[in-house]
Amino acid sequence: MTNTAKTPLVHITRRKNIAWYRAWIVRIIAVILALILCGIITTFVVHINPIEVYKTMISGNFGTARKVWFMGQDLATLLIISLALAPAFRMRFWNLGGDGQALMGCFGASAVMILCSGSMPNWLLLIVMFAAAIFCGMLWAFVPAFFKARWNTNETLFTLMMNYLATQLIAFFVVVWENPKGSSKIGIINQRTQLGWLPDIGGNKYILIIIVAVVLAVAMFIYMRYSKHGYEIAVVGESEPTARYVGIKVRKVIIRTMLLSGAICGLAGFMMVASTNHTLTTTLVGGRGFTGVMVAWLAKFNPFFMIITSFILVFLGRGASEISTMFGFNDSFGSILTGIILFFIIGCEFFLNYELHFRKSAKKEVA
């Protein structure tokens, strides 16, 4: 072997298959490595020992019953939005507009709440709010979907810009509907009458949204896996020419799927306004449309895996914010940790799809 010396050191080939348990081991290792790195960085920044860091993170999520419920609510909201995005991504439609669509849902619900409270019975008010929220979410999803379907307009940036349009639109209405006058914000809507508020279950206002999220996850799993629509979405996502060839109307599927996506985002908005927050601000959705993209993608669009991925992200976010408040830093620390853990999970996919072959020494080759 005269040319061994020049053989490349590492040779990469595509993997044929990987056993599911090995795939999970790789992923878990990635998460653990990421957590270790996060711990080291936190220690470095705030000068506490790493064990403390993790303890603080855990207590930030599970410290008190209130915190657990709060995390549950956060998780549920993120999960609903991620579930909304999943079918669009399965179709390879990069819907970065989850924020805007959910925000429009909030807008629809709170607009009805502000303008129509008292003019109809409460149950009807809730239904109208619900319909308005869904409609606004769908509208915000329909516009980019229409142009994508018709002229293949770049949906990534289109949906993104729709977010900012939604923010500006709401900023406008926040000024118009400000309460009290001059505060330039909308306080808790109907604080006294509680009109348009969804009932608390067992005296806890967070249970309802969690139930909605779980039901939706199951429904979405069935929809994507077993329904005709779900199958069409998969075919369009994998290969548009094939979809056309078997007579699937690609444009229709794109628009229909995005309407579904927008409707569920709208539902998330409705839940935020009617069940948990009872107010409208431009930052109500808080970037969950973005995080949802990663939740959905990391879970390979499987709704049940999405519960796990959204838990990891929520856990980190809340844990980091606990550290921030304890040590007087700002909340953005969570974004840094989230970024790190995402890098690791994204990067570990490589080891699931490819194999590394290191150069064998010349001796081994002879033997």
Binding site: T153, L165, W297, T338, I346
Partner: protein, 329 residues
């Protein structure tokens, strides 16, 4: 009456960060990498510059040297954005991860870095100042030609900017010429169009992707630096940079991947961003909020129009967003 002489310089300084971002992203995309992490990179570029000059201002006190006051933030900014570029390349080029998701994670991460250090720098460094206001560095970086003030409207429109603004325009022109007229530019275009072809032609695809993306990240990072040090007078406030990174990415499509067009397009967009200050709306604060949406609306309209024309030369690089593996069959 609409004051055009006041309007143009403000549009330009609004447009320069966009120009940096757009040129950086164009170079990146020419190598076939769609870097949606640019908004994050611009934050990192900005905050690294801030950290550099903050430390320097604290250390040097009243004895600041002009050259260092300029060089330190720029160097820090370049290093910070280079690191971001390297993370992106390692994930998407070496590990062949999905570019969209990596980019979004980069943006989350970068914006987080910017806001975290922006908000906690004082506490972290133990300095006793109320807020980050790097007015001295600002003075150095935004210095204009001394006689510019005496030239009336001409001076205002063309000569009233700090050197980083001119550097951005120069960079755009250099990028345009390099892409069009040189061997390196030709090779880079080939990498973005068809990496397999470029590879077979003996071009080191991986190296081109790394270099172009990192260079693009560094240029974009300068946009963040320009924003804080020049535009914002050296004052960092969280989230102030906003969504300029996304607008810059949208501009790349608008300018059909040509940095020379980007010069005018970014100034035009800069103008749109400040239009709300120049449209008389009286005391109605609410309407102003609507006017702030104009740039986004225009971006959407631009996206729609660009998708309507389908001339071959105006299409995105053919392999944009795809990772390359030589042994794929």
């Amino acid at each position: 009456m609409f004051d055009i002489v006041a309007f143009i310089p403000r549009a330009v300084i609004q447009g320069i960060p966009l120009l940096y971002g757009c040129v950086g992203e164009t170079i990146t995309e020419k190598s076939g990498n769609l870097n949606l992490g640019t908004p994050g990179i611009m934050y990192v570029g900005g905050i690294c510059g801030v950290i550099g000059s903050f430390v320097y201002e604290q250390k040097a006190g009243d004895h600041m040297i002009g050259f260092l006051a300029i060089a330190i933030p720029i160097l820090c900014c370049l290093i910070g954005s280079l690191l971001m570029g390297l993370i992106y390349c390692f994930l998407t080029v070496t590990l062949r991860a999905n570019q969209n998701v990596t980019g979004l994670a980069m943006t989350t991460f970068g914006v987080g870095i910017g806001n975290f250090f922006g908000g906690s720098l004082i506490k972290l460094s133990g300095a006793d100042v109320p807020s980050i206001a790097l007015s001295k560095t600002h003075a150095y970086i935004s210095a204009t030609l001394p006689f510019a003030k005496n030239l009336g409207w001409f001076g205002k429109i063309f000569l009233s900017y700090g050197f980083l603004a001119y550097a951005a325009i120069a960079m755009a022109i250099i990028a345009a010429i390099t892409l069009k007229k040189t061997r390196v530019g030709l090779n880079l275009r080939a990498v973005g169009e068809s990496p397999a072809t470029a590879d077979a032609a003996g071009i080191n695809v991986i190296r081109y992707k790394y270099v172009a993306t990192c260079l693009g990240a560094m240029i974009a990072g300068l946009g963040g630096l320009y924003y804080v040090m020049d535009f914002a007078s050296g004052v960092w406030s969280n989230d102030a940079f906003g969504d300029r990174g996304w607008l810059a990415i949208a501009l790349v499509i608008f300018t059909i991947w040509r940095p020379n067009i980007a010069i005018f397009a970014s100034i035009l967009f800069g103008g749109l961003c400040i239009l709300h200050m120049f449209i008389p709306s009286g005391t109605n604060l609410a309407v102003k909020e609507l006017y702030k949406g104009i740039p986004y609306l225009v971006t959407i309209i631009v996206l729609i129009f660009t998708s309507l024309r389908n001339k071959r030369e105006n299409q995105p690089p053919a392999s944009l967003g795809l990772s390359y593996f030589r042994e794929d069959r």
